[in-house]
Amino acid sequence: MTNYGELMPVNIITGFLGSGKTTLLQRLLRSPELSEVAVLVNEFGEVGLDHHLLQGVAESTLLLENGCLCCAVRGDLQKALRNLLSQQTRGSVPHFRRVVIETSGLADPAPIAYTLLSEAVLRHHFRLSGIITTIDAVNGANQLGTFPEAVKQVSMADRLVVTKADLSDGPSVAALRARLRTLNVAAQILESTEIPGDIRHLLTDDIYDAAGKFREASHWKAEAVDEPADHEHTAGVQSFAVIFDRPLDWSSFGVWASMLLHRHGADVLRLKGILNVAGLPTPVLINGVQHIVHPPSHLERWPDADRRSRLIFIVRGLQRSRIERSLAIFSDLVNQPALLPA
């Protein structure tokens, strides 16, 4: 079986209409370290992209039998990524090590993640690296209040890039950042003007990248603070951390999480966690998008002295207290005398 971390990383750049996705992509592609990148775009906008390996795809989604929108295969991507693989094998396109997909302004990132992890061919060649969402500082707050698509794009992101902050005022930008933090406690929030010189980290840092996984997990750690259960939310979406003092039994956790995502996956927009697993000296990282959980990764050492497990949930309409209680009960099952190994 191929090591998941060795598969070709795919980044998603999403964001509402006119939020600056293509401008950000232009900046990223100017970085010499990101020269071997293939780009798939869903729509050609006003900002032109000049890139040697750029292909357009018409958005189409194949709904599967279970009818769940997040578990749908994006037929366009399936075809485009298979074509890219084929072209690379034949040598008919320049060599590339990473793929960036720029979605349309109203796209849902979940089917893209599902396509990468479940499609028969693609899952052996590609992995989801990270989701970057751009938010317009001028119109972003209004869009979050009006369009559920914008809320979902923010909720599912690993990195949130606030664009056009220079066209807004300080208090408005601060209020927008606070709202973004409420929706997504685990994402790094950056203003496009404060992106560091080494912009490639925006794409390359993820929990499977040897050089970047510690940086990536540090965002989860730093922001995984206890949030009040009744804080302000948007479109029913809220994010919170569930913290466990005792080491978790991996089998119990896997059974619990898979059952939870079976029943409530459509409402668990993201699930991230730094887990203290019984019997393991180093923390285990898990990363899920709705019904999909990627194979776990791990850090070589704990980020600090805190050894508690932290699970970050970004959910729609689910109660934190109920999730905590459920996980606690499942974790205790392993201590039942009848369940102890003979």
């Binding site: 079986m1 090591n3 998941y4 991996w250 089998s251 119990s252 956790f253 896997g254 059974v255 619990w256 999480a257 898979s258 059952m259 939870l260 995502l261 079976h262 029943r263 409530h264 019997g279 393991l280 000296p281 180093t282 285990v284 898990i286 959980v293 990627h294 194979p295 776990p296 990764s297 791990h298 689910l318 109660q319 109920r322 999730i323 209680r325 459920s326 009960i329 499942f330 205790d332 099952l333 392993v334 039942q336 005398p337 009848a338 369940l339 190994p341």
Partner: protein, 114 residues
């Protein structure tokens, strides 16, 4: 594929340690795949007792589910168990359901494994 019985290799699930060998290489007590599946099956049986569904490991590659009425299902991974259990038992599998959680806590110390 198993040369003796013709069973194809099962799909990997993210919760199988085989899906990320490097993550679980540092275990203080080395665990074989068989032991891991046995431990998981014990937990699954405790979790699905309320549904009157019994789970057995099937050739180390799949799970065999049997309902009280004798309906059966064979599935590849833990993730596939829940829709199959719902289908053969007629009950939903919801770990956030309060009544269901109460049945799990009330059974503590009882003989949960079938």
């Amino acid at each position: 594929m198993c040369a003796l019985c013709g069973v194809l290799g099962g799909k990997a699930h993210w919760s199988d340690s085989a899906s990320a060998p490097a993550v679980f290489a540092g275990r203080s007590e080395p665990q074989t795949r068989t032991r891991e599946r046995q431990a998981r099956v014990r937990i699954l049986n405790a979790v699905l007792k309320h549904h009157s569904v019994v789970v057995k490991d099937w050739s180390g590659n799949a799970y065999l589910l049997t309902s009280r009425t004798g309906r059966t299902a064979i599935v590849d991974t833990v993730g596939d168990i829940w829709p199959a259990a719902e289908r053969i038992s007629g009950r939903i599998c919801d770990p956030l359901d309060e009544r269901y959680l109460s049945t799990l806590t009330n059974r503590e110390g009882s003989n949960a494994a079938p």
